[in-house]
């Protein structure tokens, strides 16, 4: 520990700490823009500048290490003037259309402008002029609103290791964009939306489906059905000032009913269904020398990543549709038949923590001739806006329960929303199916938590089976390399694109703090441990579904409706020069 002074107060800090963190540890707030926790500081935005005694210029506190006996001023007139000017410069090269902006009142630039009392246009001049990229089904890019903090670039390259966007050109002409400034739909982007979560402005945002959903709700001929992903119930509360990790399932159901949906179902139901199918597929592969290791397929971002980058390993991915697609498929076949509704008239809306799901629902193999499994996907953030639009005060809503039969679920389904959850749920059922016995402890601690790669080995009769959980797509490369080299020891691997799983999905409330994710995960595990039934094969409605419709997991009928296929989407080399 070393001694230093911040704003004339003597404090202690650890060596190597940045001035920013040292200040934070004693409750002194320094504004930041380009700073991202756990990633190397770039010192680009200069909003966090402070005065350090003996230094000629102001220094960026995010990148400046503390040293013994230093004296720091974080709020002098000189510092304030510098910060204000920087905000003024950023504002001046921004469309300033806050009133019609999707991030109105949730924008870091707006906050800073307010904080530093920017009240006039001091430096008027040319503004950058860029078209909005609406080419993708999931993500919209609006470079005119970009303040070039580079957080999206760093997340895309350093965390997700996808590298779909980067800085291009330089100086005043710099932009964050795709190669050759082409539409994001034909880039290597997997649409995970992690960039949206870190974007301080609305330069990156989801492509909204609110219009389609509103139209369906207004259409009297449509039978509107909504389903809620496991992770949404643990995060939506944050948008209403509830502490992170508050579970809001009951209020959420009421809210959706009040929006006018005919039925409110639970994606957790089909999560159980997914486990039945996936576990059966895994056992089948193990027993019949199938392609191993098998990957989970619940995460469409991961599937898209494989299709773009490693089409050779597509055969390793389970053919199961993702849970919400399964739910849609079941709704438009089994449920439609049962309720005697034309599947074309059923409009299925998924409330998802995810931006890729929007793209997934538009994939042609997930559509029948006249209808799609899922008609529209709304992110958690869009749902909040929808509630606002409908005048629904979320905090005042009474609680309600899901409709039957696609509303019943077990604890195993609830934890689908965290990294390691699918693995845990699958193992609970697979163990039972292979041995006829139940696992002694249901909480598989090795696959919980925020490690990048989590491993567990389970002995089943005389077989030692190895499992891995990839927490974030940025960690996938060595795993795939091992498979391609023939050195992989695993049998089954869960992959979640977003670090932490769906609780940290690209459609979730905009957040900055890491500890939120831990609390959200905890909430899901809490739901699980509160349940009477905690294994997917104990779900009564699923059992009935098999009895009445599919006969058994992986049956011909189940394959037709609940499974899908994947395509090589590697960007083809241009052949013409």
């Amino acid at each position: 520990m070393i001694q230093l002074k911040i704003n004339n107060v003597a404090i202690k800090a650890e060596e190597g700490m940045s001035v920013l963190d040292a200040a934070k540890s004693v409750g002194i707030h320094i504004p930041t823009l380009c700073h991202l926790k756990d990633l190397t500081p770039t010192g680009a935005c200069r909003i966090c500048v402070v005065e350090v005694e003996g230094q000629r210029n102001l220094v960026p506190s995010c990148a400046y290490p503390v040293f013994k006996g230093m004296s720091v001023e974080t709020n002098s007139a000189r510092v304030r003037r510098a910060r204000k000017t920087i905000v003024e410069l950023l504002v001046e090269n921004h469309p300033q259309d806050c009133l019609v902006c999707v991030r109105n009142k949730n924008c870091e630039l707006q906050d800073l402008s307010d904080k530093y009392s920017v009240r006039e246009h001091r430096y008027v001049g040319e503004k950058k002029d860029h078209a909005i990229d609406i080419s993708s089904a999931s993500i919209e890019r609006d470079p005119a609103k970009c303040i070039l903090c580079g957080r999206c670039v760093r997340v895309c390259h350093e965390v997700q290791k996808v590298g779909a966007i980067d800085f291009t050109k330089r100086g005043f002409l710099s932009t964050v964009t795709t190669p050759y400034n082409k539409g994001i739909n034909i880039s290597d982007c997997i649409l995970c939306g992690q960039c949206i979560l870190v974007c301080p402005t609305a330069a990156l945002r989801e492509k909204s489906s609110m219009k389609e959903v509103a139209a369906a709700l207004n259409d009297k001929r449509k039978f509107t059905v909504v389903q809620i992903a496991p992770a949404v119930r643990a995060t939506l509360g944050e948008e209403y000032n509830m502490p992170p990790g508050t579970e809001v399932t009951g209020k959420l159901i009421t809210g959706l009913r009040r929006l006018g949906f005919n039925k409110v179902f639970d994606t957790n139901f089909s999560a159980d269904l997914t486990i039945m199918e996936e576990a059966t597929e895994l056992i089948h592969r193990i027993n019949n020398n199938g392609k191993l290791p098998m990957f989970t397929s619940c995460c469409p971002g991961w599937v898209k990543y494989a299709e773009h980058n490693k089409p050779e390993i597509l055969e390793h991915i389970s053919t199961c549709k993702s849970p919400h697609e399964m739910e849609g498929a079941v709704l438009k076949t089994y449920y439609a038949k049962k309720m005697e509704i034309d599947p074309k008239d059923i409009f299925v809306v998924s409330i998802m923590p995810c931006t890729v799901k929007k793209y997934e629902s538009s994939r042609s193999e997930l559509k029948e001739e006249s209808y799609a499994d899922v008609d529209a996907v709304l992110t958690t953030r869009e749902l909040t806006r929808f509630f606002k639009l409908a005048g629904i005060e979320f905090n005042d809503l009474p609680e309600d329960n899901f409709d039957d039969p696609l509303g019943e679920s077990t604890g195993a389904a609830a934890i689908f929303g965290t990294s390691g959850g699918v693995m845990e749920a699958a193992l609970r059922t697979a163990y039972y199916k292979l041995t006829g016995k139940e696992l002694e402890t249901l909480e598989l601690e090795p696959v919980r938590g925020d490690k990048n790669i989590k491993e567990i080995s389970i002995k089943i009769s005389d077989m030692e089976l190895n499992f891995a959980v990839v927490n974030g797509i940025g960690n996938i490369k060595p795993i795939i390399d091992d498979i391609q080299n023939g050195t992989s020891k695993y049998h089954f691997i869960e992959v979640m694109t977003c670090p932490g799983g769906c609780v940290n999905g690209g459609g979730q409330p905009i957040h900055q703090k890491n500890d939120k994710i831990q609390k959200r995960m905890k909430a899901l595990y809490q739901i699980d441990s509160n349940m009477t039934y905690r294994r997917s094969h104990e779900n009564e409605s699923v059992k009935i579904l098999y009895e009445e419709f599919f006969t058994e997991p992986n049956s011909y009928c189940a394959h037709e409706i609940l499974h899908t296929k994947y395509f090589d989407r590697k960007i083809k080399r241009k052949t013409q020069i």
Binding site: C45, A63, A82, T85, V124, G125, F167, R170, G171
Partner: protein, 661 residues
């Protein structure tokens, strides 16, 4: 003997694989390990031949630096060859680098056997026959283009060192430039080359070398002036398996060409400096980061490295010292900001050349995270003479805080444009008026711009300022890398500020906000100053113009205070120094809407004097905006609303009928 690597006899055993520490000594003093007079004689003779102390044929030296070539050196050489062939004469044609007197290029020196080397300037292919006739055939002096002799002066032939351009100079770095053949390692060795290196290898430890450099007071010549020895010491103290040395030859300052000249004219000196520096810090890998715009410098460097490798002066176990060094050339791809150390490192690593916050400093964590020392070309070119002649001698030149000499690239509105090396502490007026010869065409001196885009313009009133890091900074300019652009009365200071801001704006990497956005706004404020009333005659525009001026200083201060790297931090300098010394000129533009230098075209009005105009129609054809009307043979008119004030009509009119006010 044709080259030093040729063995004098079988007893000499130096090879690249089995190096001999006495090799260089052998080359200059004769064989060391065995006593054989014929060997000694052989080497002695070869040395004399290399220095052209003995030769049978006349030697014709042609200055073939980039500026010489641009002025037509190759054509001159071709003409010389042709003329020799025609006259059936034989001569040795020896390429040299640039002696620095670029204004008088092409420079050709002629040395007849047993006579002194005599220099001629402004040689063109046209006068080559006359030159050859007079000198080689008649063995006389060609007086018309005589510059001077390298030897003893006579009444007829003055000494070249007496020429005002050279008289006030003190050449350490440029010692060999334009004198020796830059493509021959033998030529360098026979001119005291690699002596410093063997002194280091034989007697000095790393610490000793660093102490020597520290005591010499040498400061980085790239701009900031950080003590070189301190930088080395910092890197030396790092414990690391791999360290790097980088020679920064990314000379991006518009108006500066010192590094290019040194690399083209004396590349071996730079490599020797690098060897010593790498030895001192313990680096085994080095890079030369050179602008791709300098193809000649790059090819000469490559040639230098190849020859050094052949002689065992680069590679493993150099001269049996146990020290190894590998040098690679990296071609810059055109980004001014890559002159900044961290940006340069990013560029070598294959990234966008964007600076990183410091600390950590490159000397602690640089290329690939390893300790890295980055020195400028001129800094490294100083090393060998410091080691060879001692730090005391070096420290005796210059002022208290700035030691040694500084190379400047003299250009702009000055008679003797070229490359000069002056002792620190010389006064600016001496440089401009004595060495530079003053302003051509009887125009008045207005300002000198020192330090490149980050420097400042100094007026006549501060011409007695000394050339040293601190004095220049206090005067509002900076040492920079050595650009020295002289401006006469027809230069508009508002326009100059605009020019530099445009440059910086174009070269800003765009990473940090103050530089990316701030310099753009500053440029816009400056651009609004000469905006003409007529075209944008709305009140808002005028309001904006004054508002911008009011906030200009504040913006400049914040940019200087908060930018990430030196480029941004010094970006406001051209404007600030302009406001400091040339405030009246800004005010004239603002309040009187006038540019008395006649540069800011928007403030000018063009009209045709109908008494003089013959109606020839040339200007009408030239006018790109269709602002000139008139029948052939009748006086023409300029439609003011359409005129974009490009001035093309003035340039094209043969009758001086167009008035500019």
């Amino acid at each position: 003997m044709n080259s030093f690597i040729e063995k004098c006899c079988n007893e000499c055993w130096h090879t690249v694989e089995k190096p001999c520490e006495l090799f260089i000594k052998c080359c200059t003093e004769g064989a060391q390990c065995h006593n054989n007079d014929s060997c000694k004689e052989k080497i002695k003779t070869y040395n004399k031949e290399l220095k052209f102390e003995i030769h049978d044929l006349p030697v014709i030296f042609v200055g073939k630096g980039t500026c010489g070539l641009a002025a037509g050196a190759q054509k001159v050489e071709d003409a010389v060859n042709e003329e020799l062939k025609r006259l059936n004469l034989k001569a040795i044609i020896e390429p040299t680098g640039c002696i620095g007197f670029c204004a008088r290029e092409v420079i050709v020196d002629i040395k007849l056997p047993g006579k002194d080397r005599i220099s001629y300037c402004e040689v063109t292919p046209k006068i080559v026959p006359k030159l050859i006739q007079k000198t080689l055939v008649e063995k006389e002096i060609y007086k018309e283009k005589l510059l001077g002799t390298f030897g003893e002066p006579s009444e007829e032939v003055p000494s070249i060192h007496n020429e005002p351009f050279f008289k006030h100079q003190l050449k350490i770095v440029l010692e060999n430039c334009g004198v020796i053949n830059p493509t021959s390692i033998d030529s360098y060795i026979s001119n005291k080359g690699f002596r410093a290196l063997i002194k280091v290898f034989s007697a000095l430890r790393s610490e000793d070398v660093i102490r020597e450099i520290l005591e010499s007071g040498l400061r980085g010549r790239g701009g900031a002036g950080f003590p070189t020895g301190k930088k080395w010491e910092l890197a030396f103290n790092q414990k690391a398996e791999q360290k790097y040395l980088i020679c920064n030859a990314d000379e991006g300052d518009p108006g500066a060409f010192m590094d290019r000249s040194v690399l083209e004219s004396d590349p071996f000196r730079v490599v020797e400096g690098m060897l010593i520096a790498a030895y001192a810090i313990g680096a085994s890998k080095a890079y030369i980061y050179c602008r791709a715009e300098y193809p000649l410098a790059i090819s000469r460097l490559q040639n230098t490295i190849d020859q050094c490798k052949k002689y065992g002066l680069l590679g493993n176990n150099i001269l049996n010292s146990g020290f190894s060094l590998e040098i690679k050339i990296k071609k810059g791809a055109g980004a001014f900001v890559c002159g900044e150390e961290t940006a340069l490192i990013a560029s070598i690593e294959g990234k966008r050349g964007m600076p990183k916050p410091r600390p950590p400093f490159p000397a602690i964590s640089g290329l690939w995270g390893k300790p890295t020392v980055i020195n400028n070309v001129e800094t490294l070119a100083n090393i060998s003479s410091i080691i060879l002649n001692g730090s005391k001698k070096f420290a005796s030149i210059g002022t208290a805080s700035s030691k040694g000499t500084k190379v400047f690239a003299l250009s702009g509105n000055i008679k003797n444009a070229g490359l000069i090396e002056v002792p620190m502490g010389i006064k600016l007026e001496d440089v401009v008026f004595n060495i530079g010869g003053g302003i051509p065409n009887n125009k008045k001196f207005k300002a000198v711009q020192i330090g490149g885009p980050s420097g400042g313009c100094l007026p006549y009133s501060v011409m007695s300022t000394q050339v040293d890091y601190e004095s220049l900074k206090n005067a509002g300019a900076m040492m920079g890398s050595g650009g020295f652009v002289v401006m006469d009365e027809e230069t508009c200071m508002v326009d100059v500020a605009k020019f530099f801001l445009t440059f910086i704006q174009n070269e800003s990497c765009g990473k940090c906000v103050p530089c990316r956005e701030g310099t753009k706004r500053m440029l816009e404020i400056i651009e609004r100053i000469p905006h003409s009333y007529k075209r944008t005659a709305n009140k808002l525009d005028q309001l904006q113009r004054f508002k911008g001026i009011i906030h200009l200083k504040r913006l400049a201060d914040v940019i200087r205070d908060t930018s990430l790297c030196g480029l941004g931090q010094s970006a406001p300098n051209p404007v600030l120094s302009g406001l400091r010394y040339f405030k009246e000129e800004y005010e004239e533009h603002l309040y009187e809407r006038k540019c008395s230098s006649g540069v800011c075209k928007e403030l000018l009005t063009f009209s045709i004097d109908n008494r003089v105009c013959t109606g020839c129609g040339v200007c009408l054809k030239k006018c790109s905006s269709g602002a000139i009307v008139g029948e052939k043979g009748q006086a023409h008119y300029i439609v003011e609303e359409k005129c974009i004030k490009c001035g093309m009509c003035v340039e094209s009119c043969r009758f001086e009928a167009i008035n500019v006010n």
